[in-house]
């Protein structure tokens, strides 16, 4: 399920009252911009033609009081735009003061994936399922560099800082699937640190939490981790590096360099990820993989192995993303 839009779209979908009002704000601001700029465009074009060299024209300037003009064309636009400052500030203050009955989602950014945890304990990678009609507060933190969680349909974003929590809140009122992004440049795979925000009714959300929530997303989460740690750069079917292809590996016998043959079970995979320099080198390969011990947390490792297991069923197709 992905948020499909037509080829050319000129207005972004909005999913909350604040988003709709932000749209009104920007539309009104655009009207003001046109009021302030179109006269300039028309003016310079008209004057350039009307008063061009060699054309007879009245060039007798009329004794304009230039100070008065100067001050007025500085002050009037300034005062007009101040309306928009106040309007924007009002919306901003609303967005900074969540109501008391919010539901709190924990979000953790790391290179290059998002982890979300629901209040009931279920967690997701990159995708986020949320109910509408309920104020939701997302508490954000980063494990490494600065990221930012950006939900365009709700017209909000907030930085994920490594040393302290930041927050954003919203109350969605429209169901559907929308994009979510990392909007603060965070290194190599910044542009794939994105996912889907699925807004659903309260009952659908409860259903999702109890049924699909944990299971369906486990494999997707594992795939996100597989991508986030860059496993595919060496282990994908199309990778340049000479490394064992992992699609369909689980459960198969592996011939080792020292002549033994072992089965690629969970423990074998776990051992190979955490300690690739052990004595279990597969035959025909060089020892070039770095150790991920202390790099990959235990829960991520579990999801990754789940993904590699599931990948056996779908075989090669999946591994190429």
């Amino acid at each position: 399920m992905s948020p499909h839009q037509s080829a050319l779209e000129l207005w972004p979908a909005s999913a909350s009252a604040v988003a709709v009002e932000t749209d009104y704000l920007i539309l009104a601001f655009t009207v003001l911009t046109l009021v302030l700029t179109v006269p300039v465009f028309l003016g310079i074009t008209y004057f350039a033609i009307r008063y061009r060299d060699g054309v007879e024209a009245d060039r007798d300037t009329s004794g304009l009081r230039s100070n008065l003009i100067e001050i007025s064309w500085m002050l009037i636009p300034f005062l007009l735009t101040l309306i928009f400052f106040a309007w924007g500030a009002r919306l901003f203050i609303i967005s900074k003061n969540p109501p008391a009955d919010t539901m709190v989602i924990e979000a953790i950014g790391r290179q290059w994936m998002w982890k979300f945890q629901h209040p009931t304990g279920q967690s997701e990678i990159n995708d986020l399922h949320l109910p509408v009609g309920q104020p939701i507060k997302i508490r954000i933190i980063s494990q490494d560099v600065i990221h930012a969680l950006y939900l365009p349909a709700l017209r909000v974003q907030m930085a994920a800082l490594p040393d302290r929590y930041t927050e954003l809140w919203f109350k969605a009122d429209r169901t559907g699937t929308f994009r979510l992004y990392c909007s603060e440049y965070c290194g190599s795979d910044h542009s794939v640190m994105d996912g889907n925000l699925t807004l659903m009714t309260q009952s659908d959300y409860q259903h999702w939490l109890t049924h699909s929530g944990a299971q369906i997303t486990a494999v997707a989460a594992g795939r996100a981790i597989y991508n986030a740690y860059g496993c595919g750069a060496c282990h994908d079917a199309r990778a340049q590096v000479k490394a064992p292809k992992l699609a369909g590996l689980f459960g198969r016998p592996v011939k080792l360099a020292d002549g033994r043959t072992v089965t690629a079970d969970e423990n074998y995979l776990r051992e190979k990820i955490l300690n690739p320099n052990g004595n279990r080198l597969a035959e025909g390969y060089k020892q070039i993989m770095p150790s991920f011990a202390g790099v990959i947390p235990a829960d991520d490792l579990g999801r990754l192995i789940d993904y590699l297991k599931a990948d056996t069923q779908t075989a090669d197709g999946e591994a190429t993303r």
Partner: protein, 559 residues
């Protein structure tokens, strides 16, 4: 036009044995000496300006090629053309080179260097050797940055945010950082030279309010060079030490604060926007009156505005951090101050529009650029206000809207002013006229190409496409392809001047001292000027911009 119509083979015939300089045939600064050594050890501000012009043109080409690579990669949404890492390096090189090695030195170091002494009636800048040193420092910084590019590139973005740049990036960050730090000293020394020159070297009679706006704008710019650059130097030194020795200033594990770097960075880099914008305003304020043959409307206002903008711009840096966990009160204050600085700068375009009103307009190449500037700059300025509006910022921060906005300011503003100024003063710099028809065609190409490239990016940003994305959702492809198509038109527009301007150096018509009937001391000496600028001390006009058409100043009783 020189009297002899025979084509002279420029450099060859102009060896030392030349008759006594006279007004119609002086020894000009280009031919006074011709050895390579006389160029690389030149202390003449005009020659140093030419050195700068050559170097920043080279950097412009490097930055433009990187931009071309970026636009090429974005033709497809799935990153099939470039890997993410290569894409990140391409946009970083584009940003670093364009900001630090083209935009910031562009107008001040070339036109400012060449023209300030001419405009105020001085023989040179106050410290000619220091001026040459600035150029060498600039080239040393450039060398470091190029080393980083050649070794494999940087992938941190031109903003070098910690901790990505200090602890996480595996690219050649250190040489690039060292290069950018060094270049800062070149800016400081140039600014220092300008401030001292404008204060002390004005010819008798050249009072402050007889200075052209170009000089005022450079005075304001130089103050920013002096007062803001040292802060980024410190920030960058700390960043270098953090990356090399992990001293911990920006590392939360040791009680440091990564956001502190952003504060120090934007304390310089927001004023740096005005380093790029103010000189451009100065250029336009020279071109528009000359091609309208009319006094600049509201001279004193524009002069004061330059200084005012340079001051207020030091207090708005926080508007780059509305969504970075800054306190809400600080965000409100920074938003309000940003409105206070943006509106007066954007409405300066009304002054130029009013100058065109009832003028005697000639639509030569420099004027076309100036008119393009007026249109694009006002759009860039007002879209900046969208970003300063807190609620809108929460949506379009770090999206393509920002990219479009600052390209309207920096390309629509600074680059157009640079090209306009280059065409306006080309006869003065080189003593040759370029082909006018080609000039107009390329101005048109650049205007159209620019808008096709960057206007779609406003829409992309509002639709929610984040910047610095090497891959993007497929629904954004059409607008991205449009943008890339525009970039090819823009590239053609940039290529033309490089060809016909170079061609004019050897085959162009000889330029008279004042080809545009413009006012200002630089037009009262020969084209190109003699080594010490004036053969006899110029007379200072009673008022600046004493063009045939004058606004009747009923406001005079107030002043």
């Amino acid at each position: 036009m020189s009297g002899t119509s025979a084509i002279e083979s420029g450099f060859a015939e102009r060896e030392p044995h030349i008759p006594e300089p006279t007004l119609d045939r002086p020894i000009d600064y280009l031919h006074a000496q011709s050895t390579l050594r006389s160029w690389f050890l030149a202390t003449d501000h005009k020659r140093i300006a030419i050195l700068y012009l050559a170097s920043i043109t080279a950097f412009f080409i490097i930055g433009a090629v990187a931009a071309g690579i970026v636009r090429l990669a974005l033709v497809v949404p799935d990153g099939a053309i470039l890997t993410n890492d290569t894409y990140n390096k391409a946009f970083t090189i584009h940003g670093v080179v364009m900001v630090w090695f083209f935009l910031i030195p562009s107008i001040p170091a070339t036109f400012g260097n060449f023209l300030i002494p001419l405009m105020i009636g001085a023989k040179d800048l106050a410290f000619p050797k220091l001026n040459l040193t600035s150029w060498y420092i600039f080239m040393a910084g450039a060398l470091f940055t190029m080393v980083s590019v050649v070794l494999g590139g940087v992938d941190t973005g031109w903003t070098f945010y910690a901790p990505l740049s200090t602890a996480f990036s595996n690219s050649w960050v250190l040489p690039a950082l060292i290069g950018v730090t060094i270049v800062g000293f070149s800016s400081i020394l140039t600014g220092l030279n300008f401030v001292v020159t404008i204060h002390t070297m004005r010819t008798p009679g050249m009072t402050w309010f007889r200075l052209p706006i170009f000089v005022w704008a450079h005075y304001a710019t130089s103050l920013i060079f002096l007062l803001a650059t040292p802060v980024i130097t410190t920030a960058l030194i700390l960043l270098i030490l953090e990356r090399a020795f992990h001293i911990g200033v920006f590392d939360p594990a040791y009680g440091g604060d990564p956001v502190l770097f952003q504060h120090l960075f934007w304390f310089y880099s927001h004023p740096a926007v005005y380093i790029m914008v103010l000189p451009g305003m100065g250029v336009i304020s020279e071109i528009v009156p000359a091609f309208a043959q009319k006094k600049l409307f509201g001279y004193r206002f524009v002069a004061y505005a330059s200084i005012g903008l340079a001051s207020v711009t030091f207090f708005v840096w926080g508007h780059h951090m509305f969504v970075n966990g800054q306190s809400d009160l600080a965000s409100l204050a920074f938003s309000a101050l940003s409105f206070a600085v943006a509106v007066p700068s954007a409405v300066k375009v009304y002054n130029w529009t009013a100058t065109i009103h009832k003028g005697r307009i000639r639509l030569d190449t420099p004027m076309l650029y100036a008119m393009g500037y007026i249109g694009l700059f006002v759009l860039g300025g007002l879209t900046g206000l969208y970003l300063a509006t807190l609620a809108i910022n929460q949506h379009i921060h770090a999206t393509y809207f920002v990219v479009a906005h600052f390209h309207y300011i920096m390309v629509g503003g600074t680059v157009l002013a640079f090209l306009g100024g280059l065409h306006f003063w080309w006869p003065k710099f080189t003593g040759r006229m370029y082909n006018e028809a080609w000039g107009r065609i390329s101005a048109l190409f650049i205007f159209i190409g620019f808008n096709v490239t960057f206007f779609p990016q406003f829409i992309l940003g509002y639709l929610g496409m984040p910047r610095r994305y090497g891959t993007y959702p497929p629904e954004f492809q059409l607008l991205n392809v449009l943008s890339s198509a525009g970039a090819t038109i823009l590239a053609a527009g940039y290529l033309f001047p490089m060809v016909y301007l170079l061609y004019s150096l050897w085959f162009g018509r000889r330029a008279p001292a004042n080809p545009w009937d413009a006012k200002g001391l630089e037009w009262e000496t020969a084209s190109p000027p003699p080594p010490h600028n004036f053969l006899s001390l110029p007379e200072v006009p009673r008022v600046p911009y004493d063009y045939p058409i004058q606004e009747r100043e009923s406001g005079r009783q107030h002043t």
